[in-house]
Symmetry: C2
Subunit: 246 residues, 2 copies
């Protein structure tokens, strides 16, 4: 195990997650390293172009190189490539915000989005993680997952609001979702925001991702969402075909 790399990436992570540039001493204390060690490592990251030093304060912050690297990964991601055209279609039909999410353990990661001209407040941005049980796009994926109960339990033990989840009722609801192919939530993750989501099925027959239409409750009523079921299902099956075909 290459501990030096671990240390370097840990520092880079720390810096990227900070809201403001961080000083050497603060980081050294926080991560249990020597000041000199942190300093040298930061200098390395700086010459490599991943970190920059704020001239005035002498503190360190991330550069866009980190982000550029990340964007390379996501634009090449097969799911993003497969889903994008069909997300675009849905957006054209609905004029609402469209999300693409994938499951990572018990979390749901927002992979890509097309924002509505008049967007919803506090919309999740690409890169965000939320517990998969809350939003429609997470639930629809869980419904098409082999080890659902296990994931539900992860969630029940790890999340503060986990105990509210009723296992039996949830499993029953998931069965319904599997039949319909889509699911709705009213104020699922953010209050006042409604959402309808469908699952993109991968080669293995399980959910590989989800596409969701998302908007304020006033505009995206339950009625309207029901009307959109077919469009969402369509987008998902086509994205799935495109994914499996490639």
């Amino acid at each position: 195990m290459d501990t030096t790399i671990a240390k370097g990436l840990r520092l880079l992570n720390r810096i990227a997650h900070a809201d403001a540039p961080v000083g050497v001493t603060a980081m050294a204390k926080e991560m249990g390293l020597e000041k000199s060690n942190v300093h040298r490592t930061l200098t390395t990251l700086m010459t490599l172009g991943y970190v920059q030093k704020d001239g005035a304060t002498g503190r360190y912050g991330p550069t866009l190189k980190v982000w550029e690297l990340g964007m390379k990964v996501v634009t090449r991601h097969p799911m993003v490539r497969a889903a994008r055209p069909f997300m675009q279609m849905l957006h054209q039909q609905t004029q609402e915000t469209i999300h693409l999410t994938i499951l990572d353990g018990a979390d749901c990661i927002y992979l890509d989005q097309i924002r509505a001209p008049v967007p919803v407040r506090s919309t999740p941005v690409p890169g965000h993680r939320v517990p998969a049980i809350f939003p429609a796009s997470g639930r629809v994926q869980l419904a098409f997952q082999p080890n659902v109960e296990e994931i539900i339990n992860v969630f029940r033990t790890s999340h503060p609001r986990g105990k509210e989840i009723k296992v039996a009722a949830t499993l029953k609801e998931f069965a319904t979702i599997r039949q319909q192919g889509v699911t709705f939530t009213e104020s699922g993750w953010s209050t006042g925001i409604n959402s309808i989501a469908g699952a993109i099925i991968g080669r293995d027959g399980f959910a590989a991702a989800a596409i969701a239409v998302c908007g304020p409750a006033e505009r995206l009523t339950l009625e309207r969402m029901e009307g959109l079921s077919e469009e969402v299902l369509n987008a998902c099956t086509q994205a799935g075909d495109s994914l499996r075909g490639s």
Copy 2:
């Protein structure tokens, strides 16, 4: 200089830039390292969660963790935060694709975008780099830069099409741009795509970023772009105020 970190990040870069997972031997050869070295480093990156191994082929590819890290950087970026509301406004007014770009040396990086419901083909995606001299959003920033001539020369020597650039004419054009605050291009970077861009001026009085409206020539005619000058200027000054105010 912490060479181990450099090696690790070089490998991560290599993997992230690849279109398909890469094998140990190929990388070792390409980067002048021993196979065993590459293997151990990859194993490290894997336990850290930045790299994953394709079960079938045994080759290595990047994980979304790299991307998540990058997204943290850009969503916290002061320019993105400052510009987004005004980009949204412009999008609402025009229904076209809106770009936010910043300058990095002689390059122009696409930082953020809002896609039109009916998008242009081959639109640059966030994370892309293009030579700043071609697109409107690059030119408008160059016009408000202290060391323009230097950058033009970098470009003339480094880019295959660099010799086409006439220095005197370009400088004169930049003077005009400085007066008008915006600039248009017809087929500037991609043929058939027109664009109008304005500069966001930073604390130092130079361009810190640019906002551009971008669309197919049929839809975004020169006439229409001229009509949009004021809106674009407005968005830029407001974004600038918001940036400097924070």
